[in-house]
Symmetry: C2
Amino acid sequence: MEARYFEDWNVGDEAETGAVEVTREAAIAFAQAYDPQAFHLDDDAARDSIFGRLSASGWQTASLAMRAIVTSGVFPPKGLVGLGVDKLRWVKPVYPGDSLRVLTRVTSKRENGNKPTGIVQFENETRNQHGELVMTHETMVLMPRRPQP
Amino acid sequence: MEARYFEDWNVGDEAETGAVEVTREAAIAFAQAYDPQAFHLDDDAARDSIFGRLSASGWQTASLAMRAIVTSGVFPPKGLVGLGVDKLRWVKPVYPGDSLRVLTRVTSKRENGNKPTGIVQFENETRNQHGELVMTHETMVLMPRRPQP
């Protein structure tokens, strides 16, 4: 897909990312580093938990959504600088073997003075390979303007 | 510190976590896996960016705050199940070599029917080793009740 700059995005525009995978190894490694709770590390503890079986940290789900967005190819190659996140909700657990896609939609955009970036807000739906909604969140980013020729 | 259960937390209660470190290796590994943007991977690209030098992904900062909270020892050993996040703001960049602590404060709590967990909301301030605020966010979790003897 072609990279689209600040000027190219309008309120209501949507993009769907490619799929990102969650392996068991990556889920456990992420939990060890960032969310070392028994239900993300150990099958027996997970079975006794609300999750029923080993699940990925919600922070890994959010980070994988970022990977899906960044590697989608529709954003400026100079990158998106995150300002903040609102209304993040972990709707369903994510399990090893799941594959996630993000549908992102522009909800607002505004100039940022004379800066080479504008501020764009998105609402995002992250779904698994069964089409089930696993996470929703709103993101606010600095997005580069189209370079002048 | 002693683990405190749902019954033990009241609105206004605070806890400060221990420090978590951000190494250059971990910052680059996280960016490769979850936020592969040039300013998080490459020193030259970082120098030309708003960050001035290689910085950690904001999602790593959020994940490290989770690590600090989970390993603080003040929450029930059965673990905290995240429901959502609000008003997350990345206030300042986090750089390799930084060390982060989280100050967390209860803003609301409520029963969850007859369930063995209650719902607790926290506001969190994450600061670096200079005491500078790098991130704020609000978290909503399911917290286990004290086990009955």
